[in-house]
């Protein structure tokens, strides 16, 4: 029974971390149809931002939850203004340019921070489930994921900003005719997506540490979660994360962590083949 509870928490954690790291990308891809291959590096930069802020004396919570999103959000806006905005509508060129950006950011981070892994000890300690101990931090991550997904849904559905963003994405000309500045909306949206990604990177950092090339481990998973999720940003991310996170964790439990990763990637390939438009093209259609 304890084992089941432990496993359940681990599965939830896998789902939560997958959802967290993908939701920023879901917004950028879902709203702007931009494929940002530097996504992994945004996660990485979020981790570094949190660690540096913590080293400079800020509390770890502020570093993770406030500094990291702000820093990466700002970077996102800069990237959008300098690179992405010249390539709207050119999906493949966007992929290539952001791949270049990814390499560039890896190089830059290596130059500034060096090659070694920097760590952050996971706060909150551990707790017991029967005869097993597990980190309480995993519960924190799960909580953050729920809050973030809920928050994004709320902003999109209930706020003026969310409405403007959705309207602009669907019909920029119309929005402009109504007095909205589309290019500013694009910048803000990309920045928001980047900020959420930075937050995710910071929150995950205590678990695995950060090094310049850590993005590579996350970029494929995030992408296939977003593409597997489909057009609906929040429900899609939630649905795909649940599927892939569960597959990953269960496969890991039964075999090895490496095979868990392989199982996740393989499940994604099968899903894209079966549901080429993603889960939310068939289920939960029309949701946000």
């Amino acid at each position: 029974m304890d084992l089941v509870a432990l496993l359940a928490i681990q599965v939830l954690y896998a789902i939560a971390s997958l959802a967290l790291m993908s939701v920023g990308l879901a917004i950028i891809f879902g709203m702007m149809k931009v494929i940002n291959l530097a996504h992994g590096e945004f996660l990485m930069l979020g981790g570094y931002a949190a660690i540096q802020a913590n080293r400079l004396g800020l509390s770890i919570w502020i570093a993770m939850l406030i500094v990291a999103p702000l820093v990466v959000g700002a970077i996102g806006v800069i990237v959008e203004r300098t690179i992405i905005r010249w390539l709207y509508g050119r999906m493949i060129d966007t992929m290539l340019a952001t791949w270049g950006l990814s390499l560039f950011l890896v190089g830059l981070t290596t130059a500034v921070f060096g090659n070694t892994t920097v760590g952050l000890s996971a706060p909150l300690g551990s707790f017991e489930i029967g005869q097993y101990r597990t980190s309480a931090y995993t519960l924190f991550v799960i909580a953050v994921a729920i809050v973030v997904l809920g928050g994004v849904l709320a902003v999109l559905r209930f706020t003026r900003l969310g409405l403007i963003a959705r309207g602009t994405m669907q019909n920029a000309n119309m929005a402009a005719a109504l007095g909205v500045n589309p290019s500013r909306v694009y910048s803000i949206t990309f920045g928001a997506g980047a900020a959420l990604t930075g937050l995710a990177g910071a929150v995950i950092a205590p678990v695995s540490g950060v090094f310049p090339t850590i993005g590579a481990a996350y970029v494929a998973k995030s992408f296939i979660t977003v593409i597997g999720g489909g057009a609906s940003m929040v429900t899609g991310t939630a649905a795909a994360s649940t599927l892939f996170g569960a597959v990953n964790q269960l496969a890991t439990y039964v075999t090895t962590p490496v095979f868990g990763e392989v199982a996740l990637l393989a499940a994604a390939i099968v899903l894209i083949r079966v549901l080429p438009q993603g889960i939310t093209a068939r289920f939960f259609r029309g949701s946000l």
């Binding site: 493949i92 950006l101 590579a216 494929a220 490496v258």
Partner: protein
């Protein structure tokens, strides 16, 4: 000068340059330079494989390194098990081709679109990387070949003259084989692209709907192109395994896949010479930059030696500023200067779209 004779001139020039490189390089340079040039030739074959699949076929494959790596690993594993290189060489070509045929069938007949093709092929090469990287223990072996995990497989025996196990190829021989392979690949692809098959895949890239409406099955053509590209990449992988007598999982990694794409973009999609030049140029540049920056120093020197930084900047720069790549951009300037010939009736096979 008509387009047709310009084309023949270009072919002749290419042949001349190729033969010159083949014959003169060992005479003019030391063995270590020849060794470096050998790997450039091998990578250029790899670049041509993606030039075919993506540049001409329009198939967005972000995981060409998967076939390159499969070729290298297949050769190594087969060589340890068989001991004589004829079969391993053939397997190094066939295994990646078979894998591509399967994956291609899955993707093209499943009507998966462009962008998702890129993500799936990228994912596949990452799966291979992750899997092989973790096979470090002695329990991971195929026959008498240990997979080696992140350590790689060292001491891979070299190719030998077919069926004569003891006549193994030496370093200079590797140079001749690699350069000869590049020359043959270039002319082979030119012939393929001038054939009906080649023109059809370009047509499908131009307007898949119209090609379909004329009765061509795009899925079959794309599958064939993808498979041929994989076979070529696999062959390059086999050559690579012979060059260093060593292979490691990084061959499947993100960095390797990115490099192949960069060579083709910088050199120019839709050309063959472009990716060759792009590949050799970037490889040389990376080596030169890396050599100039001893680790531990800061400042400009270290920045220049920072390969991902420079490559990334190059890729961004090219996509934004020179999206067509070097060769087409220069060719475009050239033809803009020389374009005012009255159009002549096309009497036979159209030559204008012949690949450079």
């Amino acid at each position: 000068m008509s387009a047709r004779s310009l084309n023949l001139l270009g072919l002749g020039l290419a042949a001349l340059v190729g033969i010159a490189v083949l014959v003169l390089t060992p005479q003019l340079f030391d063995l270590d330079v020849v060794l470096n040039i050998t790997v450039y030739m091998i990578m250029a074959v790899l670049a041509l494989s993606l030039a075919l699949v993506w540049g001409f076929g329009g198939i967005l494959c972000f995981g060409q390194s998967a076939f390159f790596g499969l070729g290298a690993y297949t050769y190594a594993i087969a060589m340890f098990n068989i001991g004589e290189s004829t079969a391993p060489l053939l397997l190094a070509i066939l295994v990646p081709a078979a894998f591509a045929a399967l994956l291609g069938y899955f993707m093209f007949y499943g009507r998966i679109s462009d962008v998702y093709l890129g993500v799936i092929t990228l994912t596949v090469t990452l799966i291979l990387f992750n899997s092989i990287n973790s096979t470090a223990g002695p329990e991971f072996h195929i026959g008498s070949a240990r997979l080696g995990g992140f350590n790689g497989i060292p001491g891979i025996p070299s190719l030998n003259v077919p069926f004569f196990k003891d006549w193994q190829i030496d370093l200079e021989g590797m140079f001749y084989l690699s350069t000869g392979s590049l020359i043959l690949t270039y002319f082979g692809l030119r012939a393929l692209l001038a054939s009906h098959f080649g023109r059809t895949i370009v047509g499908i890239r131009e307007n898949e709907q119209r090609a379909q409406l004329l009765g061509y099955d795009p899925r079959a053509y794309k599958l064939a192109t993808f498979t041929i590209g994989a076979a070529l990449a696999g062959y390059a992988g086999c050559l690579f395994a012979n060059w260093g007598n060593f292979v490691s999982p990084t061959i499947f990694g993100l960095a390797q896949s990115a490099q192949i794409i960069i060579w083709v973009i910088v050199g120019g999609r839709g050309t063959l010479i472009g990716p060759i030049l792009g590949c050799v140029g970037i490889q040389w540049l990376t080596a030169a930059l890396g050599a100039n920056a001893p680790s531990g120093t800061g400042g400009w020197q270290a920045l220049l030696g920072n390969v991902p930084l420079i490559l990334g900047a190059i890729l961004i720069g090219f996509v934004l500023l020179v999206p067509k790549g070097f060769v087409p951009t220069i060719a475009g300037l050239g033809s803009a200067l020389g374009r005012s010939r009255p159009g002549a009736a096309v009497a036979g096979r159209p030559q204008e779209a012949a690949p450079r």
